[in-house]
Amino acid sequence: MNRDLKIALVGNPNSGKSTLFNILTGLKQKTGNFPGVTVDKKTGSTKLPGPSGTTVTAYLIDLPGTYSLQPKSIDEEVTCELLTNKSNPDSPDLIVVVADATNLKRSLYLVTQLIELERPVVLALNMIDQAPRLNSKFKIQTLEERLGIPVIPISARKDTGIVELKKILARPIAPSSKKFISADASPSAASIERYNAISAMVENIVHKEDNNERHALTHALDKILTHRIWGFACFLIVLLLIFQGIFYFASFPMKWIEELFIDFSKWGRLYLPSGELTELLINGVLAGLSGVLVFIPQIALLFGFIGILEDSGYMARVSFIMDRIMHKFGLNGRSVIPLISGIACAVPAIMGARTISNWKERLITIMVTPLMSCSARLPVYTLLISLIFPVGQRMHFFNINGIVLLLMYLIGFFAAIASAFVLKYLIKSKEKSYFIMELPVYRSPRWKTLSYTIFEKVKVFLFDAGKIIVAISVILWVLSSHGPSSKFSATQNASEKLKNSYAGNLGRAIEPAIAPLGFDWKIGIALITSFAAREVFVGTMATIYSVGDTKNTRSIREKMLEEKDPVTGNAVYSKATGLSLMIFFAFAMQCMSTLAVVKRETKSWKWPIFQFLYMGVMAYGASFLVYHLFR
């Protein structure tokens, strides 16, 4: 065989298809997209032992998990189209269907449909180690005869049977001629007919009591984890541990990355000739890169934890206990995890919304997740709260600063839920909302698969979102370091320079628009620069307020406290302005990384633009209200 082989991996969700894919391809895999749809296309290559010592290179494509060839979701449509349309460029020469041996009857539904396509099919009977009674030569041979295709018992987790599978794949395989339904049956009659055929087929192969032992532990765990009190309590504890974990473990590498970039810019200043190019490199490109890389520890950890929850089977239970509440607001039980991940960072959270199969529910989840108070808002809140509530103020036992901070998080959560409720009526979809889902047996996570997943997600973020972030950072740098007038070139003072830069002019230009919210042009500049990322606000404020303070003896907080309105002489950071600004940050879409990811996930600029506008309108309206209420 000279020709390279194209193999498609097909199977039910939770059948271990992806584990097998990882074993076969190792790191020789990449994630792309099917043209026109938001479905991941994982491809990779592997070497198979061909006849007489030769090797055959096989290209594998890992298709989205499906229960049948009657498509119910976009994912399943992709799988069906690719398998049935022979003119598709990815049309495989061979189909490997992965079936869960502990769930054989249900798996055979898809297997028999694939066989009827009259293409070469091999059945990889996965998790055979957990169905020892099925693992007999006689039973496997009987199954092969009844299906008319090769059946290889494997365990992707234990790495057994893989060599045998590879040997079979390298051989030419004839399609089976077996049919399991009559040609003219209606869809529902065909389903019943197919199941009757399957029931007859698994006679003497599968026994009812086979699964009891395995299910005993899952049942006992579920009694607690879906209990009306303990279920929610356990969920809260898991969340708490995850967030503590993310903030704690990510803080070290984040600090190293930041320090590394500070060192880079120091070296740059020392060894590169001073000039425009060096400035662009340091304040544009390096600043942008550090803004991308600094997210990676959090992204990796968040996906690590989410991966563990998914893989162990617990995530399905979280969706199960939360679906009732979420469904009322146009979301799905599966929206819980993205929403909660949004407290760390909306970027990985939005990527995590892929587990929601219904497009409308997934879109609403993506649209509202950035309203959850992410970690980038924290430094802004901290600074503003300390400005408007002098330290030490207490309400009974509680520190008032802590209460205000908690309120900001709650506002974010309720804004997300309320927006979802509105979007539920605005976004039209023909796709029905289902919650028909398997609750898989609890298993220990597969660490190797987990590390591949983390690696993949980080890579996607780095290259897809990273490009846009760096580009916008460069644009922002150009705008804030160049000015139109002679005033800009005349001054050496950093604050004056900023005031007369393009960004400064922009800030002053938008001042009339933001004055009703209680903001002056300096805040205007900070709002523009903090579009890059919210935490930039603090840095911009530091630059603006460094005027006339060459010794740098006072903190930004002190400088901002002393800032007086040039006309009225009142403090600029009154309670009204401070609260208004916080509310603005709570609602406004000031994060280009998130917008870049939304563009990537929705495959269109329409949704990030819509999100930017609706959140902007909300932020403006709410800030206006707050400013006038407290003034």
Partner: protein
């Protein structure tokens, strides 16, 4: 009666479906007429439910369960 009327621990046999489109989805998930189901868990807020069917645990909303006509087994 329908599957949504079952109580935790009840066993029943699936008879038929009232929603053609949904029945296809349910059948490919192993809920076929003649199959025995056991109601294992009800979510804390009363919906969705989890049933054991064809050797695994399936969760579905009550609205979806109400399209499955069943006969309770003693």
């Amino acid at each position: 009666m329908s599957m949504s009327d079952m109580k935790t621990g009840d066993r029943a046999i699936i008879v038929e479906f009232t929603d053609e489109e949904l029945s296809l989805k349910l059948m490919e998930m192993g809920c076929t007429p003649g199959e025995i189901v056991t109601l294992k868990h009800v979510a804390p807020l009363g919906d969705p439910i989890a049933v054991s069917v064809s050797g695994y645990l399936l969760s579905l909303r009550k609205k979806e369960a109400s399209t499955i006509i069943i006969n309770l087994l003693p």
